[in-house]
């Protein structure tokens, strides 16, 4: 077989593989874009305590053995983040939560909340290295805030008043809760709609 045929076919294959990689990369970029533009601000569900209402008060034990109060007046605000070991988006948001907690530590405490099998939760807690967060297990907490889909977050101010809440799929939606509090609006969606 002629060496030129082998070279020609090899070049053709290289072109095919490069094109396949390019198309895959483009498809991935589209996927990322869908996630980034998904919907502006955390999507609020109508259930549960409304923004501006007093949150139900809880005194819960964390997996670390401490006690944590949610919804009671305190020196700092609280971001209660509902997650589950089987939720891939939740896992992706943990580094973002960590950076938000460090940035806003002057006034905000981030609390992780879940429910279900304790052994499984403890394994997830250890595997995802969540020891630096208060992590509570309570079905009542989720029911009180009417959490139907995950990941879900509720922002409470120092007086225990709900200042923002909604489904969270990315950093922008998480930050929209803080922005809504700063702008003193119910949600970024409502702000964009009315302004």
């Amino acid at each position: 077989m002629s060496i030129s045929v082998i070279i020609a076919i090899s070049v053709l294959w290289i072109v095919v593989v490069c094109l396949s990689i390019t198309v895959f990369a483009l498809a991935r970029q589209i996927g990322i874009l869908y996630e980034r533009i998904a919907p502006m601000g955390a999507l609020m569900l109508d259930d549960g305590p409304k923004v501006g209402e007093q949150a139900p008060a809880f005194d819960l034990a964390t997996l670390g053995g401490e006690r944590v109060k949610i919804g009671s007046p305190s020196a700092h605000g609280e971001l209660v983040f509902f997650l589950s070991p089987t939720c891939p988006v939740c896992k992706k948001l943990i580094p973002i939560l960590r950076s938000m907690r460090d940035k806003e530590k002057q006034w905000l405490r981030v609390i992780l909340a879940s429910d279900g099998d304790e052994l499984r939760q403890k394994k997830f807690y250890a595997a995802a290295k969540l020891q630096d967060f208060p992590y509570v297990l309570s079905s009542d907490l989720g029911m009180a805030f009417k959490v139907a889909k995950l990941p879900y977050a509720v922002l409470l101010d120092e007086a225990g008043i709900v200042r923002g809440k909604g489904l969270i799929n990315n950093r922008e939606q998480l930050e929209s809760l803080l922005t809504a509090k700063e702008l003193a609006v119910e949600s970024i969606q409502q702000y964009l709609h009315t302004s």
Binding site: I9, I30, R120
Partner: protein, 183 residues
């Protein structure tokens, strides 16, 4: 008659492409075994107590099949094992979709984006099973040359890349649906 013209190189290409897919999938599962186990538990088809053992066994079998497919060891038996593995996985996804339990990670592994259960995944797996079935067809053996080696290498890589692309498009479709629904 149709398959009597099937070149053995095509069969090797398919086997190596799917072997590569299983190899990367198994590697990803080993890297994040906890998440894979969580996905197995979320499928809710086996007792929770046996999820760990099942996850480890599954990854070991997947890895073995991948290596055997790529190295062409015990080819017919390996291909049948791969068909059984893919069929069981597809069956498990279908059961959960019928039960309405679609909001869990598929646990597929691989370098494409993480995705939840969908009929798109079922269709993709059926295509893979059909392709594996083609590997069971008797072909005339022949000696390979340098060009065959080049075709095998790039052909298998292309099959894997096409698989990645389809998986990514299925993941994108699910994201687009969520976007339209506003969640």
């Amino acid at each position: 008659m149709l398959f009597s013209v099937l070149d053995p190189l095509i069969v090797r290409m398919i086997a190596c492409g799917i072997g590569l897919m299983l190899l990367v999938g198994a590697w990803q599962k080993i890297n994040d075994l906890e998440m894979f186990q969580a996905a197995v538990e979320a499928y809710d088809l086996i007792p929770l107590a046996s999820a760990r053992a099942f996850s480890l066994s599954f990854v070991f079998i997947e890895l073995s099949i991948a290596v055997f497919l790529i190295c062409n060891i015990a080819s017919s038996l390996t291909v049948i094992s791969a068909i059984v593995l893919m069929s069981l996985t597809t069956f498990a996804i279908s059961i959960n979709l019928i039960r309405g339990n679609a909001d869990v990670s598929c646990g597929c592994g691989g370098i494409e984006d993480e995705q939840r259960l969908s009929w798109g995944l079922v269709s993709r797996n059926i295509v893979i099973v059909v392709m594996l079935g083609m590997c069971l067809i008797d072909t005339n053996s022949r000696a390979y040359n340098l060009l065959d080696g080049i075709n095998l290498l790039f052909g298998a890589t292309s099959i894997y890349l096409v698989y990645l692309l389809f998986s990514q498009l299925i993941a994108n479709r699910e994201r687009l649906t969520r976007l339209r629904e506003g969640s």
